[in-house]
């Protein structure tokens, strides 16, 4: 008999500030060394219903390295993985709801387009809330099977806006108008 996964619960409002380690939102460097690939910045705001910014929300991301490889044994190409890239980071939102990551542009791994996995945790979120960020003007977006699972009219909400070279803006609206599509965990 398989065991049943433990029920999730909210982080509550008191996720300890010391869990946001210095530098844990910078994936472009790892243990003092720079990751391969093009440095990028991802930033945005997280808003709740009616556009109110959400402070103290935890954002975690997971992505492939610049070559499209995941540093995990399930990836048959793990030997090619960039050892100076962990692929994971954590940020928290400020009182304006703003979060920020530095990273490198993930490689595409067809049929998946370049993307960054997000998980959100906050007071009032009873379960970890996953979404996915895509990059503007990527030819591969149309063929991505996860983006294709999103109703067509809402797909653009998952595509980050390129503000300048290497700087992407990805706003997340938890509920209400222009609500970000979220996925089952």
């Amino acid at each position: 008999m398989p065991l049943i996964p433990t029920a999730c619960a909210t982080t509550g409002p008191f996720f300890p500030p010391r869990y946001i380690d210095a530098g844990c939102n910078d994936l472009s460097r790892f243990e003092g060394r720079a990751a391969r690939g093009e440095p990028i910045e991802i930033h945005g705001r997280v808003l709740q219903e009616d556009g109110v910014p959400l402070n103290n929300l935890i954002v975690e991301i997971w992505q492939a390295d610049a070559g499209g490889v995941y540093g995990h044994p399930a990836d048959p190409r793990i030997k090619e993985a960039d050892r100076d890239f962990l692929g994971w980071g954590r940020a928290t939102t400020d009182p304006e709801g703003a979060y920020r990551f530095r990273s490198v542009r993930p490689g595409a791994r067809p049929p998946r387009a370049r993307h960054v996995n997000f998980q959100l945790m906050a007071s009032g979120l009873m379960r970890v809330l996953p979404t996915v960020m895509y990059f503007e003007s990527e030819a591969g977006n149309d063929a991505d099977p996860v983006l294709a699972a999103v109703p067509a009219a809402r797909r653009a909400l998952l595509v980050a806006h390129r503000e300048s070279a290497g700087v992407y803006r990805f706003d997340i609206r938890l509920r209400g108008e222009r609500e970000t599509p979220f996925f089952e965990l």
């Binding site: 994971w88 970890v128 996925f183």
Partner: protein, 242 residues
């Protein structure tokens, strides 16, 4: 090995859709934040790909370990009922999840968190260190030394008190294994009215959130011992699923 319907790739470790009855409602009556922050649109079910069936195996290389003793960091022991909590972390196969990063935080014995946003009237205990972070051992186990947390009222909630509880954040073998949960104490009179503990529809799922106290006769002289089990999503793929 499960075949990926997208590109035929085989994945060694998978996670199916959760059984909704065993997971909390997303919008919980009497907990107003849930109605402002949870999506109104249906969640999208996505096909499994390498991106979700991998995940960070060593987040501790980015986050520093903080140990598993919340009672003994200060000049004196933290005030409260000393306890030890023995937890095992398993996956859906019942296999231990070893080397998993676990974060554990809770309120002090007076029901106050070591957090700038907690403006409750209850006193701060400077000897209570409110945040543990450690790795599970080879059997998926870890032990926490701490004091039993106090109950506290939720502000502006019409008399909702949180029962004593402990928060956990855990990383498993894949991205889909990530878990944030809370653990409760047996027979606490506040358990029955707690809006978070009672959010999963399944009574069995709720019961699994409550720790078990070991008989005091067998334990250390100075502390009560509690046991708890946490199950992360994920299991080895079997040929039947291929």
């Amino acid at each position: 090995m499960a075949a990926n319907p997208i590109d035929g790739r085989q994945f060694p470790y998978v996670a199916g859709a959760p059984d909704e009855a065993t997971q909390p409602l997303r919008v919980v009556p009497g907990y107003p934040e849930t109605a402002r922050r949870n999506p109104s649109q249906p969640l999208v079910r996505r096909p499994p790909t390498l991106s979700e069936l991998t995940g960070p195996l060593e987040p501790a290389r980015r986050l520093s370990l903080l140990g598993g003793d919340l009672a003994g960091h200060g000049a004196q022991r933290a005030i409260g009922q000393l306890m030890r909590l023995r937890v095992r972390v398993l996956d859906e196969d019942g296999s231990p999840v070893s080397g998993a990063l676990v974060e554990i935080w809770h309120a002090n014995a007076a029901g106050r968190y070591s957090h700038p946003n907690d403006d409750d009237h209850a006193p701060i205990d400077r000897n209570f260190y409110g945040a543990a972070r450690l790795l599970t051992d080879e059997s998926g186990a870890f032990e926490l030394r701490t004091i039993k947390p106090g109950a506290y009222p939720v502000p502006d909630s019409g008399g909702w008190w949180r029962p004593p509880h402990i928060h956990f954040s855990l990383f498993g073998k894949i991205w889909l294994s990530r878990l944030v949960t809370q653990m409760y104490f047996p027979d606490d009179p506040l358990n029955g009215q707690d809006r978070i503990l009672n959010a999963p529809p399944s009574a069995e799922a709720r019961a699994r959130l409550i720790a078990r106290m070991l008989p005091p006769t067998g334990g250390p002289a100075d502390a009560l011992v509690f046991e708890h089990q946490i199950v992360l999503r994920g299991r080895k793929a079997t040929p039947a699923q291929a």
